[in-house]
Every structure is written in C-alpha cells, then in structure tokens.
Symmetry: C2
Amino acid sequence: MGLDDRKLAVLRAIVEDYVATQEPVGSRALVERHQLGVSPATVRNDMAVLEEEGYIRQPHTSAGRVPTDRGYRLFVDRLSRVKPLSPAERRAIERFLLGAVDLDDVVHRTVRLLAQLTRQVAVVQYPSLARSSVRHLELVPISTTRLMLVMIADTGRVEQRLVEMPGPIPADDVTDLRRLVNEKLVDTRLSETPPLVQALVDEVSPDLRPAMATLSSVLLETLVERHEERIALAGTANLTRGGLLDFQGSLRPILEALEEEVVLLKLIGEVEESSMRVRIGDENEIDNLRAASVVSTGYGPGSTIVGGLGVLGPTRMDYPSTIATVRAVARYVGDLLAQN
Amino acid sequence: MGLDDRKLAVLRAIVEDYVATQEPVGSRALVERHQLGVSPATVRNDMAVLEEEGYIRQPHTSAGRVPTDRGYRLFVDRLSRVKPLSPAERRAIERFLLGAVDLDDVVHRTVRLLAQLTRQVAVVQYPSLARSSVRHLELVPISTTRLMLVMIADTGRVEQRLVEMPGPIPADDVTDLRRLVNEKLVDTRLSETPPLVQALVDEVSPDLRPAMATLSSVLLETLVERHEERIALAGTANLTRGGLLDFQGSLRPILEALEEEVVLLKLIGEVEESSMRVRIGDENEIDNLRAASVVSTGYGPGSTIVGGLGVLGPTRMDYPSTIATVRAVARYVGDLLAQN
DNA sequence: GACTGGCACTCGCTACAGTCGAGTGCCAGG
DNA sequence: CCTGGCACTCGACTGTAGCGAGTGCCAGTC
C-alpha cells in the first residue's frame, strides 16, 4: 500500500473540498481547485488506489469521491494543517468568558461559546467531583431533625443534600459535627474520602454517634458513590445544518444519544491527559453515533484535568478548525478555573 | 355560522382520525370509522361548511381534510372528551417520582416522565425564586476576603454565590452578618426582600457597614434582580417522531427556540393560576413555534403555584390525553413538594 | 327541507421512457 | 510514469400517461 506524497495530497484535497462543498468531488474539479500539477486522468488513477485502500468511496458509479471514515482518520492524523484561530475568534472567546460570575455561569457560557464557534453540538462536563477536593463542608439546620449538608469543592462545585437525622439535634451538636467533618475531610480528594468518612463515626463521642452515622452515610452515598456528574449541552439546532445530508437523514438516534447523560459522559468524560481525542464515525463505541464525529479534550487549571469538553458533528466536519477551537476553549476555561 | 351538532361531530371525528392516522381524512373513511348515521355526501356538505368557517382545510384539491389551528382550538374548547389516565399510568407516575432525593432529582425525574408519557418534548421550570421564601441564609468563609453565600429557599432551591469582600473579615463578623441577614430575611418572599435588604446596611455597626453593603448588593443582584430561573428539558428526540411531516420538515426553528431559556420561560413560566393553558400553532407568540402546540400548567404545593411545566409537540397532537397527563403530573409534583 | 346516490372533475402519486451530463476506467502514445 | 482520448455507466431530470382518492354539484327521494 504505497501511498506516495501525491496520493496523500489528493486525499487531502478531496477531504477539504468535500467538507467545503458537501458534494462528491470529481477529478476535474480537483485539479482545477488545487495545484496538483497533474492531469485529471492521473488523479483518477490515484483515486482508484485510494479507493482500493478504503480511504475514499463512490456513492455510485459516475459520481465523484467521498472520504470514508478511514480517510478522515488518515487526514486528521497526518494531513491536516493546523488552522490557527483568528484574532477575532480569540477575542470572542475572551470576551465571552470574562463576565462569568460562578461555576454555573462559566460552564453555560463555555458550552454556548463552543456551539457558536464550531457551529456544532457542544458538550461540557462540570468539573468532576471525583477529581475535586473538599474545600468546606457546611451543616445548616433546617428543622430540629433536618440538616442541609452543603459541600463546596475546590473546583467551584457546590453540592447540597438534605439529611434526615435520626432524632432532634441541638445547635451545639451541629457545631461539633461541622468542626469534625471539616477537620478530617477538607483538602482531600473526593475519591480518597471513603475511608476517612467511615472512620468519622469512631472519632466522635457516643451520644453523637447516631447522628454522625447518618451524616457519613449520606456523605458517602451522595458525594462519592453515585458521584454526581453534571453536563451542559448546547447547539442541538446545529444538527439541522446541512439539511438532511448529514446523519443520513435521521437525527433521531443522535438526539436520543444526546439525551442520555451516561452517553455524554462516555463521550467527553473519559479523559486522562489533556490530549485531544477525535473519534470519527465508526470509531464511536456508541451505535447511535456511528454517523457522527466527536472532538473532545480535558480541561482544568494548569495541567491537571477536572473535566472534559468537546463537540459533536457530522463526520464531514472541518476537523482542523474544530480541533483548534476546542483546544483553545479548553485552555481558556482552564485558565479561568486557575484564577480561583 | 350555524354549526349544528352533527357538524361538530364531524369536526371531532376529523380531528381524532387525523391525529391517529396523520393523513388527510376523506368523507368515506369518516362514515366508515364513526357512527355518524349519514352518507358520505352529507358529510361532504358539512365539510364544505366547516372549511368555509376555517376549521378545516384541504392540502390540495383532491385530498381529504385536515384540521386548522382554529379547528383544533374548537376541538379543545368544546369537543374533546376527557381521557382519564389509565391506572398503569398513574402507577408509573407514582413509582417514577417516589425515589427522588432532592429538588434537582425531582425536576429531572419529572421532565423525563413527562417526555416519556406524552412522547413529546417536556419542559419543567424549577420552582421560581420569585415565588419562594427564604428559609435560611448561610455564609461560609472561603478565604480571608471571600465568602460563599448560600441561600436555601422553602421550595427546596439552593443558590450559592461567591462574594468578594472589600477587606479581610474575621469570623465573628461573619457570625454577626449571618445572624442579621437571617433575622431580617427568613420567611419573606424573595420578591418582597429588596427593601429589607436595602435597609440591612443601616442596621449594622459602622465597622461592619462596608461588608454588609457588599453582601446586600450581591443578594439583591443575584437572588432578586436577575432572578435565576432554571429550566429542565427532555424528549427532544420525540420531535423526530412522525417523520418530517410535522413541523413542515424543518426542526430547525423548534430546536433553536428550545435552546433559549428565555423562550422556554415565556412558554411555561407565565402561570398565575393552576389552570391548564393550551396554545395551538399560530396562537404562539414565538414565531419559531408557529408549527407547534404547547400544553402547560402551573404546579406547586397545595393550591399555590411555584413554577410551570408542560410539553411541546406538533399541532396534531392528542390533546385530551396530553392535557390529562400534564395535569396529573403537575398534581403529583405539587403533592411531592408539599411533603417537604 | 334535509339527505342521498350518482357522476364528472381535479390532482397528487407512481411508473416508465428518454435525454443529459458528470465522472469514471482503460488504453495507446509520448 | 504521465496524458489525452474515448467508450461506458448511471443518477438526475423531464415529460407523459394511467390510477385512484376525494371532491363538488345536481337531481331525485323521503
């Protein structure tokens, strides 16, 4: 499978043209629009090889060629030239994110920004609790037997949960409980709290023990076990762009997938390092998304990762600029979080 | 415009058949499927009158009739027979909502339930802050100059906001501030707090004044002025049901509208009493939704209203059962809130 | 006067044939 | 190894014809 430079150039040209025009591209059009320095006939020969190797295909005889998922993959890996963001885009990002007042706001602005810049569906995961540390725990008496447990994480996330205590609980006890949980848990990563939480019960005077038991079980259950991941979504209307050509005419499966938080998390939440991840068409594990591509990355203050973000679009998307945009937005959001 | 009983029966039959089959209904089919006791010819005459009056129309000359928005309106107002929910549905609602652990959970479950039962797009507004009362205000020191303000409302909503203080603030001062704001604000409706909040600054010792000023301005701004309405959405995939027939082939405007919180709030947030509201096609003030219908109502504990919920679907929806479902879900959610 | 059967008419839908043209594969020659 | 030329394929489009669902109207009946 010798793909010489010219064949690669042809593939690149096909991808670029097809992404731009959305129509199968023929050999004549190619030599006209790109400086390949050869005739259409030569290009046709190259195309025949590329097709044999599975990088492009013909929708039907006598039509132009269209990249396959495999073709896009090769393009992304080896052929795409980086498109730096325009200054206008950089400014847009900064302006957009600057006014954010709290985490909710940051996430919402980010997801809208991403959707707008890439003109695709954007997904942003809230900073994961599993990757956060406890900054403060607050206990607020709601009634004699009810406390509101509020956890504030270093990533800015705030979670609350109503705790039904086993019996009436005096103000002094609340103070004691509060002091204790904070002493033991502040500054530890949530993923590492379970043993500490379990140990809490033993650290407390016998009369406080039932209260602490309830409290710690709620802590464990809510904040660690079913660790509340949250997701923001925007730009679904962009799916309808490009008529019914993309997604082979049916938005159904895509919309269904986007409704499932679990699916979204799988898409953008599985990030370990901050590297870009591009999944093209068939490479997606989720069947409903076999007609789509996902570009995602992790984000976080500095070089740590607290969550993922990305966009979803048709396989025929403009990968270079999408990748550039996603990367840039992730970096800005990370910087923003670092300022806190 | 004399519409005698039979003509109304014909209209009802047309609506019911069209909703069921999604195809223009002709005179023959009508007499076959309904006991009208007259011949197709007679029905045709009635149809001619109904068409003249604007209740139905013909997509093209030799096709059957289709209800107009006006026809649906008449149907909803005078012709539809109430469809009681099946016991299975009631049980589904109860089971679905029973396990909810907090407000977020209640809202999410509700919106999914609604989407699933009606097979349409469901929208649920979180209990409006404007309609909530303050249950407790908590101040949590985050750093020497930063406080986290947490407001817990009687409706279960919890809002937080980071407050950047003008200078370092000792623990005792925090206690004082906390006591004061709680004393003055607890149990008042948020919509009535502004004068009280403004008065706070004067009630405080001179050295606390700058701190209180900052605090009260944040309170005012965040919790009252741009009163954070929140919305949950589910079931967008249901828009693709019925192929491209509904929404005249383009989901675009609908999806766009659903992305705008402001629009959604307008749709379901404007509820004063707990009565059902049905907006059919053209009756919608939002241009993008001229091809859709919205069924909404208020909900809340007892007879008070704290927020709105509803569904959006094609004008050719099954109004009776949609209305019944929305009403039932609203009632269940209200009861659930009352238990807190 | 209201209803009915009958009939002519309309018009979208489908099938079919014919034409056009973009694009290809292949081959012979440079 | 590249190129120009040529035959071929096949989708897209056009026009025509037949079908059938459904209508509007009218004359006749109860």
